[in-house]
Every structure is written in C-alpha cells, then in structure tokens.
Symmetry: C2
Subunit: 506 residues, 2 copies
C-alpha cells in the first residue's frame, strides 16, 4: 500500500539583488523539487504568485551555492512587481498558453489585426505576459507603416482601456505633444507654465526617451520630481493650473510603457504605435484639446512635408474616433533646438529661456511661444491670431518663470540640473561655414555618451547653421558621467566627422 506523496512545502521568496532592467526573472535551483516536478527549464515562462500578486517571469536555473533548493529567487524587476515580503510563500505554475500570440503571428504573416485581436494582445502585454522576445516580435510586426488606420484606432482604444484615466469634471483640458526626432526640443517645459500663467488648465504627462537622448520627462526630472500618481497630478494642477509629470508613473498607458522598453534598445519607430502611444495617453489623461508639433527636416523623425501630412491625417482620424479635438502644426526640423542635447543640458536651456537670460537659445524661445500661442487660442484665452503676443508677454514679464517654479515646488521641490564630470570639446577640422547639422548623428553621440540614463550626459552645441568657424574652434562638447562613456562617444564622433558639416572653402 502506498500513501499519496506529501505535498512539497512552498518555496520561499528571496530577493537576489540582480538588476535585469525591467525583465522579471525567477531563479530556481536545479535540484528544486518544484522545478523538477513541473518540468521547468532555463528560459521557461513561469507564473508566480506571492502575497496575492501574480506575475509571469522568465526562469534561470541555478547550480551554484548561492540559492537554496527551497528558494524562489527574484530579480529586482520581479521584486518590485510582486511587492511581497522576503520569505513569503511562492506558488509556481505553467502560465496558460498565450493565445493572443496567434494574432501577432497572423500579423507577421501579413494579416490584418481586428479590434478584438488587438485588445487581446494589449491586455496580455499590459499584464506582463509577453516575454521580451515576444514583445520584440510584436513591435517589429507593427513597425514602419504596417498598422493601417483601423488597426491604429483599435490599438489606441485598447491602450486606453487597459490603463488608468484621469477625470477633470468638465471644461477644456489642454495638452500638447511633439513628435520627437529633434534633439533639444524641450518646449513643453516652457509652454506649460506660459499656458498655466494665463489661467488655463494643462496637466501634461510626458514620456521618457524612446529612441532619443532625452524625453521631456527625463529633462524635467533633473529640476523636479516627475513620478507623480493621479491624486498628486490632480493636486498640482488644482494648485498651479499645470504639471509636467512622467506618464509611466500613472499607468495611463501601461501597455505602451511595456512596449517602450523593447522599442528603446531596438531603436525602432512605428507610425501606428506612435499615434496610439501619443493619443492613448491624451485620452487617458482626460485632455479635450490637443496640439501636435511635428518638426519636419531631412534628419528629423519626420523627413518631409508629405510624410508629416500622412502622419497628421492618421493622428486626426484617430483623435476624432476617440473624441479628441486635435490640431497639428508643422515646424522646422532642420536643426536641433537650443544648445543642449541630453536631460540636464536641455533643462539648462529651458531655465535660461524662462529666466529671460541673454545667453538663452532664441530658437527654443521662438518655438515655445509659437506653440503656446496656438494653445492659448485653442483654450479660448486669446483671440485667433493673438495667442503668440500674449505668450510673449507672459514670458517677458517673468510670469511664466514664477509659474514654472510654482509647478516644480508643487511637484515636490525644485532642484538644480546636474553637470557632467567628464567633458571634451570636438573641434572644427577646417575653417568654413556650417552648412548642415546631422540630428541623427548628434543624437547617437549623446546616447553613446550615456544619455538619457545618465542625466548629465549628452552634448552642448556651440554653432548654428550659417555660422563661420575657424579651424580648431569647438563645434560641440560631449558630456559624460564616466571616462569610458566619454571615450565611447568621442570614438564614434571621430569617424563621423560630417556630423556638423563645415564648407570646404574657408
């Protein structure tokens, strides 16, 4: 007579202190009875439940002595997601088959995604059920122009539906968004205080960089906290009229936040995902009137007026389907805006503009006033054609600067942006006129120098298109947080000597 086997005692949660970036990883001992009885192996996807929360993690199998056979070790990402105390009982099982992956495969094979298919994929993505590989496949399948208008609307709606929403109780709620690709274009940090100083409501949530050296949230974070939750955003806006917060902290579009973490290392753009990413956050943030700034230039994200029109059309149709008023402005995208590229360097430019300093970059001020003017008209604070003058007045009188300080204080306290400990100037190899500046290569250099992860990293431009430079004069200075990164960025800059193109004839 044989007794039924006794159930094995539950595994105990152990924080191993291993930072795998955002990927939740579970570490189990090769001899762990659960690992063996379930047939888990390295890279298995495992559903783990501890302290009432359930996540799906990728398994690494450990033979070393640092993990016990009755322990379920977790990476920092898994630890943050579970929020359970060390030693908690952990239940493990095979996750249910990921049925929505069939829709991704169908899309890869050229079939169109239906609205329910998109919804199923996005629910699974937001719930963390997709592995990094599966996320990469989905992002790749939707890259370029592979999502049509209906798919884009469905994706936007699905992204809104799986996240939080902010309610503002009626009235116009303004918002703006710049379709990136233009280094240094930190107008938001000027536009919000200008608009709020005119009595309008502008609760701005911004993203961190996806493929660029800095997002607005990255730059803003160097002067004030940006990780605000929904009640904090509501409190800040109630007090000041505006805020500049990180959208990811409020889970306005949690699926988008997950997708961004594979989009960034792949450095891939997708028009449909771009539209869905932007508009899902606007809808979720409770915005009613949205201005979209599309910089156009040969090395900007959008390279021609025609491409900008295609994008504008997709934005407008999608916004309409979701009940948003949307207006698109094409702006000049031929050269970087301001002098700095990188979170702190861009913040320094913004502060100079807000303080009306003589050394402030005039192009950044101009663009910010143009956009603020449009928004003041959209919001009814200025008559048609009168927005820009009002914006200029608010900036010149220092009202915008006072409002910006109020917003920073309300967000948790204003601080000074950091300055990089390692810097090196790249000089002109000949005398001549600056004919062109390659935004993409500049962005690449800033990223190799450590931006946006290292807030102080990036580069500061010293010249503008049309300037005359002498041989040996600095074109730009690379800023880095470590000597290795400085060297890495300078190595690349050395072989890309046409990044700032100086004419042959002095």
């Amino acid at each position: 007579m044989s007794a039924a086997p006794l159930p094995a005692p539950p595994l105990r949660l152990r924080r191993l202190g291993i930072d795998t970036y955002q990927e939740p990883v579970l570490y189990m001992h090769l001899e762990c009875p659960v690992c063996r009885s379930e047939g888990f192996e390295a890279q298995s996807r495992v559903e783990m439940t501890a302290g009432g929360r359930t996540i799906v993690a990728t398994l690494n199998v450990v033979q070393g002595g640092f993990l016990g056979v009755a322990e379920a070790g977790v990476s920092e990402a898994a630890w943050r997601m579970l929020q359970a105390p060390e030693g908690s009982a952990v239940a493990l099982r095979h996750p249910p088959p990921l049925e929505s992956l069939g829709h991704v495969r169908a899309k890869i094979h050229g079939r169109k995604l239906t609205a329910p298919a998109v919804r199923a994929v996005i629910e699974d993505v937001a719930a963390g059920r997709y592995s990094e590989l599966q996320l990469a496949a989905f992002v790749t399948a939707c890259a370029g122009d592979r999502l049509d208008q209906e798919e884009t609307i469905a994706l936007t709606r699905a992204m809104v539906d799986v996240g939080e929403r902010i309610a503002w109780g009626g009235g116009r709620v303004l918002d703006k968004h710049c379709v990136g690709g233009l280094p240094g274009n930190r107008t938001t940090m000027i536009v919000v205080p200008v608009v709020a100083a005119c009595g309008l409501r502008m609760p701005k949530t911004s993203s961190r960089a996806i493929t660029s050296p800095a997002g607005t949230a990255d730059a803003m974070e160097t002067v004030a906290p940006v990780e605000l939750d929904v009640p904090a955003i509501q409190r800040v806006v109630e007090r000041t009229g505006g805020c500049i917060a990180w959208g990811g902290a409020v889970r306005l579009s949690p699926a988008d936040d997950v997708l961004i973490r594979v989009e960034r290392p792949l450095d891939l753009d997708s028009q449909g995902q771009l539209v869905a990413s932007v508009l899902s956050k606007k809808v979720a943030a409770g915005s009613t009137h949205v201005l979209i700034d599309v910089p156009v230039g040969p090395t900007a994200k959008v390279r021609s007026a025609q491409a900008a029109q295609v994008l504008a059309r997709q934005l407008e149709v999608t916004a309409q389907a979701l009940g948003l008023h949307l207006s698109v402005v094409q702006t000049d995208g031929t050269a970087p805006v301001g002098y700095g590229i990188g979170p702190a360097l861009e913040a320094h430019d913004v502060l100079a503009v807000l303080r009306n300093e003589a050394a402030a970059p005039p192009d950044l001020a101009d663009r910010a006033l143009l956009l603020a003017g449009h928004l003041l008209e959209l919001g009814g604070a200025a008559p048609a054609g009168g927005g820009r003058a009002l914006a200029h007045q608010v900036l010149a009188t220092g009202a915008a600067w006072r409002k910006f300080q109020d917003i920073c204080e309300a967000q948790g306290g204003m601080r000074q942006p950091p300055v990089a400990p390692f810097r090196h100037a790249v000089a002109a190899q000949r005398s001549g006129s600056v004919l062109a500046i390659d935004n993409r290569r500049l962005a690449r250099i800033a990223k190799l120098a450590g931006a946006p992860r290292a807030a102080c990293a990036g580069l500061a431009l010293h010249v503008r298109i049309g300037d005359f430079v002498e041989r040996g004069e600095p074109l730009f200075t690379v800023h880095a947080d470590s000597p290795g990164e400085l060297a890495y960025a300078l190595d690349y800059a050395a072989v890309q000597s046409g990044t700032v193109h100086v004419s042959e004839d002095a």
Copy 2:
C-alpha cells in the same frame, strides 16, 4: 601635484552556475569600479575577453553578497563560449556600434536587403553580436514571405560563408530533407541506412526541432550520439556510407543555429529563412544531389499544392544559384506519420520499421521507401522507376537494419530510447469514425508535454483517419517526464477536444 590614477586590477572570471539557456549573461557588482567607470548598466551589451576569446554578453548588475566587486560572473552559456579557466583576467569594454542593425531596420521599414547587407547581418549574428531582442526583430522582419528570391539566395550564401564546410573529394553525395510540419515523419532514420546499404554515400546532418515537437536530430539522439564533429562525420561515413548527425555540432551554419534559438520560442516560420536554413547546410555538408520532401495538407506546414509549388520553386532557384542538384517530392501531409510524436516515441516507430515488426507503422515504411527509391535513382544505384523495389528489398532482408546498427555503433554506440514515467490516455467522448486529425494541435499537445526538451515526452496515437472508435476507447496517450507537464498538456487537450475529430453519428 597629483599622480595619474593607478590602473584598476583586472576583474576575475567566475562561473556562477546560472543557466540562462543560450544567452550569454555577465554579472557585475553595482560597486565594481570597471562597471562604474565604463557606465555599464543593467541590460548593457558588454564585450568581454578572457583567455584569448571575445564574446558579447548582456549585463545584469548585482547588489547581493554572492558576487565580489572584482569579479566578472558569467552564465553557463557565456562560460561555454569563453572556455577560460575560473579566475582568468577579464577585459571589458563597450562593443563597437552594431552597424548591421541599420540593415535590419531598413528591412523592417520595407526596403530590400542587398547581398552585402545580408552578409554583414549574418556575420554579426554568427559572431554572437546580436542581443536576443535584435535577433527577434531580424527573424520577425524576414518572417512569412518577406524575403524575395534574391534575398534568399544572398542569405543562403552568407550562411554558408560564415560556417565550416565538409569536402568529400568528388563523386555524388546524396542528401534529403523534409520540410517539417508533419508530426512523426522520421523517414530519415530509415532512408539513410537503406541508401547506404546500397553502397551510396549519404552523410546526413539534421536539425533539432524548431517549432515542432521533435527534429530528426532529437529522435536520433535517443538511439545514438549525434553531436559529431567534421572528422567524426567523415570517419562514420567512410566506415558505413551514412550518418545521421546533428548539424549544429559541426557549425555548418552557425548563424542558422543562433537564429533557431529565437525562432523556437517565437514559433515563427519564414519561407526565405527556411530555404536558406535547409540549403546552406546542404552546401556546407558537401552534398551534390538533394531530395526535398514537402508534405502537403491542411494542418501541415505547407497547406496546399500551390504553396508547395511556390516553395519548390524558391528551393530550386536557390539550389541552382548555389550549384546543387535538387529534386522536390510532394507527399501526403493530411495525417501524422507513424504512431509516436516526440523524440523517443518517434524513434520507437523507426526501430519497429527497420526490424520489420508486425506492429510497425505501415505509413512510415511506405514514405521512407518512396523517398529512398527516389534517392537510389538520383544516386545511380537503381534505374529510373526501379528505386522503390530495390529499397523494399533492402529493408525486407534486414540489410537496412544491420546498416542502421552499424551507423549507430560508428556514431558512438547504440542505446534504447527512453520511456516516459508519466502517461495518460485521452479517450473518445463518443463512438464514431475518425474524420480528421489536427496535426498542429497534436504538435502543441506534445510540446506542452515537454517535447522535444524531454526526450521521452510527446504522445502516441492509437487511431488513424477512417478508424471506427467506441466511446471511451483511447485516441492517444500523452507521455511526460513530470506530473506538471502531463497536467499542462492534458489541460490543453481537454479544451481542444476536436484534435482527433470523431463523427457525430456512431
């Protein structure tokens, strides 16, 4: 006066015993001076050199006490790739920017890959410079029919060029390949001994499963070693005329071996990659005459005669460009071949056929004889139309079985395939005739049960299309190496009751 800082002592290699499957991972302490000075962070790609070998690994940053600040911990995959003794000095640096990724991005955005672009990508892939995410993006960008004829030829050539090649010194060298999708189709293990028993040369290298429950290499490995290097293959073929080895062990197409490791979890097929994968290995193996078996059926990998013709055409044109004689046979792909699905279960079927056992699956024997007949004619051992009769004779007299045993012994020794410790029969829910069998769902069940990783896992079919079954009679038995996997496969089988479709009217 300040002295120059002393160079930091080199980091020391430490094997941590962490199995991350095939991904090389480097573990560094958060306080490690190299990690800090280079600006490495979690998920950075880091080039590491130890004992003369250089690899690119993904960084995980460790805060726990199990790793010292002067140690460079490595995962099992990185440990295997470096082959350096523990304690070796390790040099780390940022890898050069991965320029070939620009070609992958261009492909994702719909531009065609040139031959030099494909070559650059494949060199970097074979050298291990692509991260898992980047591999997933490349595989996705080439999935379905996204590679045209020229791209496919370029991909095949690039895959051959980056790997080893076997030289046979003149004369016909035969080969065959089955374009998968048909569970249990293990004809190779019968065809090779039949052909070799007739005095022809057939050095067969096979792959492990990509998206199926078993590849030929997985099934063969349950009866003999398959990890032979080039000299071993040459020795086995010299002695016996044939071999059935794993292609991955000889690095005939190392780029393909890397791509397969992301194709498998993504469960994605690509026609161009399929053609390149198959033909690059044939060219590298020194084959001159190749027979391709394309099973066609509604639930096979190739679903229609038309799709088979498109594939055959791409195979023929690519083969011609690479100087191979190639012949394609379409076969019946409407039902699984043999009774077993999974490495060991398929090997049991093969052994039964070779031994002329009464219980041997007749369909497997038939297909093997058809293919062997074609090959005997291609190789000049039989007159046109006379191949099949010769093959039948060689099988019936036991000559093929003796040859198979010789091959197994020459490969390192014959062994018995394992039998699964956990089995459960799935019974018919009503009486009736078997109208259809869904290959894809059967394959899914076998994979959920643990195939091909667990060699004994899979399922054994008890019925054929057209059979009459009584309610409660077993349709198939699921085999697993652990109770968890058995339950997982049975859960899926329970909700997919139409996998074996029994008619309504008993």
